[in-house]
Symmetry: C2
Subunit: 368 residues, 2 copies
């Protein structure tokens, strides 16, 4: 059985048993038990496995689902996980027992933290990354920015998720220029940095752009799974030209912000995305322009790194409003298995982005 | 310029101007104005066009976006519409001026209300539909159900969104049986009903299942855009084998439930889905197992039917918990351009589903 854990908050006048029964029916047969053939009631309806009261109100409940409900489709697993109940109050999905899924359904990232560290030759320290922007820049300008960041010592450069295939910097031309930027920086400094191309588009074009990015020499791909399709990201991670995948949270916000609905941020960003193929997961860091608490961010980090799941781990990639001068403090808080994603704080450095990258990478090399 | 309207609620200590400026930057360049080249600040950053105070607090603000931001990609339009701001508090997207979009970006449904009424030979009354379920039934059983509902006089039968390609009823076998069910009912009664096959899956498989459904004689397709990918639905609507598309709200819930975040239900279900190719939009009706108000449902209906948008209209398809005996009342409330989606209330009819369908369709034929 596929085991999923929920926090359940019955409505006024509803018992816990009624609410749990309604979830068991809603996410499987969508009919009341009285009209079900008995073999379907027995085999197909979800089964409550355990329950305990939560201190803050509500109950933690684990429900077991017949793996046949997925029919081997990852999309149908997503539907069983959070299809119709996404529209109901008082149900939050908090955990999945990934070992309980049919083998091969969620393959996880193609690389994971260990393999990426090996590929990149960075065995143990925290990493730094930036986004190449703003939209409106030419491919040549973005390629030049990429070179400057790489020459300054940044580890990863990714396209901004707002940069795709606009006439200012068409996809293939931009990828070519950014790859060239990374290579020229390497000639200059002897040190290799890595460039991720943004491939979000209609799923077939997303797959084609991923292939093209690999052909053009990009080191990875950036995708917004809640726009391109969650299973599209999984498809990228399973392709025969594996580039590591960074997942970006655009359009995902409403899923995690209600305390008694949706999914917890740690489940969505730290585990589900990872199960769906993300090697690195971008999430909005606390204290910036977005709204997670420090505890939620730390929970995302732990979830992404856990080494007891049946697929590789993923690098947490907090972003949004971090200042470069606070990075040593953030490394102490979040630990070395983190990719820090900085933007404004590098772009506004009075000495230019190469100097900003140099300062930031020096801090990371000195960090424990 | 692409014009989008928001309800904006500044945080404690933040002015309306600051909050609006932050949206204008966040959804375009993601950098502060002080580091932008002046031509990018001028041409690429969003531009506030007007603003008025809302009675209930907050402001209605229209922002204009450079259409080049989309780069001709519908996915990038979705990112501009609600990418990063999905992760921020106090911003609700309430409207899009569809006439302001680049031509061809959102093609809308292939049919729309008028063409569907003509195809189906139902010029003016309200329609009734059901879902074929429960999961766990065989293809033969679902085909038989389909025949019974059709023979009783239902207009549309769709697969349940929990029924996809499980071994109980594999996709092609099920579609074949349900098409046969519709045809046998027609032989029996002389009246044609219409069957929609559920095609949600990884985008490439979704497209393949849509083609296969058409080849096998299905009359339409059901898809969950928030699982298969929103632009995947648009792709189906633009294919050379056009089947009308029903959009299902699985996994979409969190987007509309917060009063000061997300999208309004009328924008998401009534307009955005329609722009993305849905001919019929399923939404959770008020008073059932889900949580919309009557006013929200009526707003969805109006939005789906509006005839002043640059693409065809869509049938609103309220579902979830409606009783067959209340349908005349619902027709009076919602009007004839509605497809009523009933499940339990038909399945539990003591005389069987054919009798239930007969009663329901008689009510609709008598309705004004």
């Amino acid at each position: 059985m596929i085991k999923v854990t929920y926090h359940i908050y019955p409505a006024e006048g509803e018992s816990l048993e009624q609410k749990v029964e309604s979830v068991c029916l809603e996410q499987s047969v969508e009919l009341p038990r009285r009209v079900l053939p008995s073999h379907i009631a027995r085999e197909v309806v979800g089964e409550p496995l355990d329950s305990e009261a939560l201190e803050e109100g509500g109950h933690r409940v684990t429900i077991g689902w017949n793996p046949e409900l997925t029919g081997g489709d990852l999309s149908q697993f997503l539907n069983t996980l959070y299809g119709n109940i996404s529209l109901q109050a008082g149900i939050r999905v908090t955990g999945v027992d990934w070992h309980s899924l049919p083998e091969g359904l969620c393959g996880g990232p193609a690389f994971g933290i260990g393999a990426l560290r090996e590929t990149w030759g960075i065995p143990d320290r925290a990493l730094c990354a930036t986004s190449l922007k703003p939209a409106g820049s030419t491919a040549e300008e973005l390629g030049e920015l990429c070179r400057e960041f790489a020459a300054g010592g940044l580890d990863l450069m990714k396209d901004d998720h707002g940069v795709t295939n606009q006439h200012w910097a068409p996809f293939a031309e931009r990828v070519r220029r950014c790859v060239e930027g990374v290579r020229r920086a390497e000639q200059e400094t002897g040190r290799r940095a890595f460039y991720f191309a943004h491939v979000t588009a209609r799923a077939d074009r997303c797959v084609a752009r991923y292939r093209r990015a690999a052909e053009l020499g990009a080191d990875g791909a950036l995708v917004c799974p809640h726009i391109a399709g969650m299973e599209t990201m999984h498809q990228l991670a399973r392709m025969d030209l594996p580039l590591p995948v960074i997942a970006h949270p655009a359009f995902s916000g409403g899923l995690t912000t209600h305390p008694r609905q949706g999914l917890t941020p740690e489940l969505l960003y730290g585990q589900l995305w990872r199960a769906l193929g993300a090697d690195l997961v971008v999430y909005p860091n606390t204290g910036g322009r977005f709204s997670f608490s420090l505890a939620e961010c730390e929970a995302i980090n732990r979830a992404a790194r856990r080494d007891d799941l049946p697929f590789p781990s993923a690098f947490p990639m907090p972003g949004g409003g971090m200042r470069r001068e606070n990075i040593p403090q953030w490394v102490e808080t979040y630990g070395p298995d983190t990719v820090f994603l900085l933007g404004t704080s590098l772009y506004e450095h009075p000495g230019g982005v190469r100097e900003a990258a140099r300062e930031l990478s020096a801090m990371l090399k000195e960090s424990p």
